[in-house]
């Protein structure tokens, strides 16, 4: 299935005006080349999708369906075997575009730098002057609740705090597109909920377009405006669900009956695909 999957939102919401499209994926597919003892692996697609400007999109799918590959293609870290990624109408396939911030699942803090220097890293490389760097870093640390740890090294922080450092390091660069690859994957459920709220706060503050890769359906249902559901490998879009939550939402939504309905719907779409993925592994 390579065609655009119909959104469950009202028709006017399905087809955004061209100027509202921030990132457009056209026929994206990726196959990993053969390696010793293993043939080529078709990992992804083909798929088409549009990210609207300022939208929060979560992508869910079974393990190994190519979610992270998709994120790395959009980030320009991987060149797709087929298809084109357009950022604000310009093809960026295979190049790392400006204004994109990426947060990975793994701990990507720089162990040799303090929290403050970690967050300032990108600003210094970009040649931002010292006063502006200080202002932005101090603000980001305060925003992420890390001010009192500004002189600490990552090894002195918990996993959740280190992930916040990585998010702050992305935030200070003021990207217009933020790509998050299961950033809370290693955290416990309570911390995930709180980090999710921080992420929503960050999204509202920056008005950036956010793509969140996650395997947690409740996280996707809570945080996103739209949830893109992917099939088992090679990952294709099998559904796009509009959550319809208000912009000022927070984790209290989990008590809303509609939240349970939404999560159940996502699981209903994913159940068979997850079984396929398990069978394939």
């Amino acid at each position: 299935m390579s065609g655009r999957v119909r959104d469950t939102a009202p028709a006017a919401d399905i087809a955004p005006a061209a100027s509202d499209v921030h990132v457009a994926l056209h026929g994206i597919a990726h196959t990993y080349p053969a390696r010793a003892g293993q043939g080529p692996v078709a990992a992804l697609g083909p798929l088409d999708f549009d990210f609207r400007r300022g939208e929060f999109v979560a992508v869910v799918g079974p393990s190994g369906c190519g979610k992270s590959t998709l994120l790395e293609i959009i980030a320009g870290l991987v060149t797709p075997s087929a298809g084109v990624v357009e950022l604000e109408g310009r093809a960026i396939t295979g190049t790392v575009a400006k204004d994109i911030g990426v947060v990975f699942q793994e701990d990507a803090t720089f162990a040799w730098l303090t929290v403050w220097d970690n967050v300032a890293f990108g600003l210094r490389r970009a040649g931002i002057d010292a006063a502006e760097t200080t202002r932005r870093v101090d603000y980001a640390l305060a925003f992420m609740g890390l001010t009192e740890f500004r002189r600490a090294y990552p090894a002195q922080l918990s996993g959740g705090m280190r992930q916040r450092v990585c998010i702050a390091r992305t935030l200070v660069l003021r990207p217009r597109l933020i790509l998050l690859d299961e950033p809370f994957g290693a955290l416990d459920q309570q911390t995930r909920l709180l980090m999710g709220e921080e992420l929503l706060r960050l999204w509202r503050e920056t008005a950036a377009t956010v793509m969140l890769i996650t395997h947690a359906l409740d996280e996707a249902a809570l945080l996103a405006d739209r949830v893109a559901v992917m099939s088992a490998r090679p990952g294709r879009l099998i559904d796009v669900v509009t959550t319809g939550w208000p912009g000022g939402r927070d984790s209290s939504l989990v008590a809303d009956p509609a939240f349970g309905t939404l999560t159940a719907r996502l699981w209903a779409r994913l159940r068979e695909e997850s079984k396929k993925a398990l069978g394939a592994s």
Partner: protein, 251 residues
């Protein structure tokens, strides 16, 4: 001080006291070995009175510094280059693995031919001892850099050189320190042993002269000096390496 460190000091102290007693009681002939306390006193006399002492120390330390610099910088650069070409690495790995099984001193005549008798031969010999340890440590250190940091470097649009300088080098530094420690230790062996056989100056040469002249006082004094130097440098680098590891890793 940790319990392990106390045990280490206890074992060394016991061995020194045992040697002292064995020498004092005549169980070890004085012609073979003098008591450790006399070695220290003899070292004090050598330092205070021997006119050759400081010039020879300067000569040896100068050669050693050059050999360490060559093996550390050369090993780092070669390690980076070989790591960047996987086929070359696969071809060279067996050579690196078996390098220390080959007695490097067999190259001594070649070094004399190429560099003559003098500091250059010694420095090259010392560097040859240390450089492979640094090459192997560099490649291992780069292997251990988390892949996600390299993705961050690409996502941040850092170029090759900035990635190497700002990310790879600091991320690899705890493991590079292991290589540096080995390079220093091997270079000390290379320089002292080299001076022993092919030099007209240096502390190694003085040890050889004292040995040939049955001057046990001077020979053991210099051996104590070399031991103290090697242990001190190794301990200092080890402490620095541990501090880096503590800062890098939670455990």
């Amino acid at each position: 001080m940790t319990r392990v460190r106390l045990w280490q000091l206890g074992i060394v102290g016991t061995a020194v006291i045992a040697l002292e007693l064995l020498c004092r009681l005549g169980i070890i002939n004085r012609f073979t070995m003098i008591p450790p306390s006399e070695m220290v006193l003899a070292l004090g006399r050598v330092v205070a009175t021997a006119p050759w002492f400081w010039p020879d120390v300067r000569y040896t330390l100068g050669n050693l510094a050059a050999a360490i610099a060559l093996s550390a910088v050369g090993g780092l650069l070669i390690g980076l280059a070989v790591h960047a070409v996987p086929r070359l690495r696969r071809a060279l790995d067996p050579i690196f693995t078996s390098y220390y099984a080959v007695p490097t001193f067999v190259l001594y005549p070649l070094l004399i031919v190429f560099f003559g008798i003098g500091p250059a031969s010694l420095i090259v010999l010392g560097a040859l001892f240390g450089i492979v340890a640094m090459i192997v440590a560099t490649m291992t250190a780069i292997d251990r850099i988390p892949v996600v940091l390299l993705k961050v470097a690409r996502a941040s649009r850092l170029g090759i050189w900035r990635t190497a300088l700002l990310l790879k080098l600091p991320a690899a530094s705890p493991h590079l320190m292991t290589g540096l420690r080995l390079a220093v230790a091997y270079s000390v062996i290379g320089i002292i042993a080299g001076e022993f056989i092919l030099s007209t100056e240096g502390i190694g040469r003085r040890v050889a002269l004292a040995y040939n002249n049955f001057d046990n006082q001077t020979m053991y004094a210099l051996l104590v000096l070399i031991l103290a130097f090697a242990i001190s440098v190794n301990a200092a680098l080890g402490a620095f390496e541990q501090a880096l590891h503590r800062r890098w890793y939670r455990s």
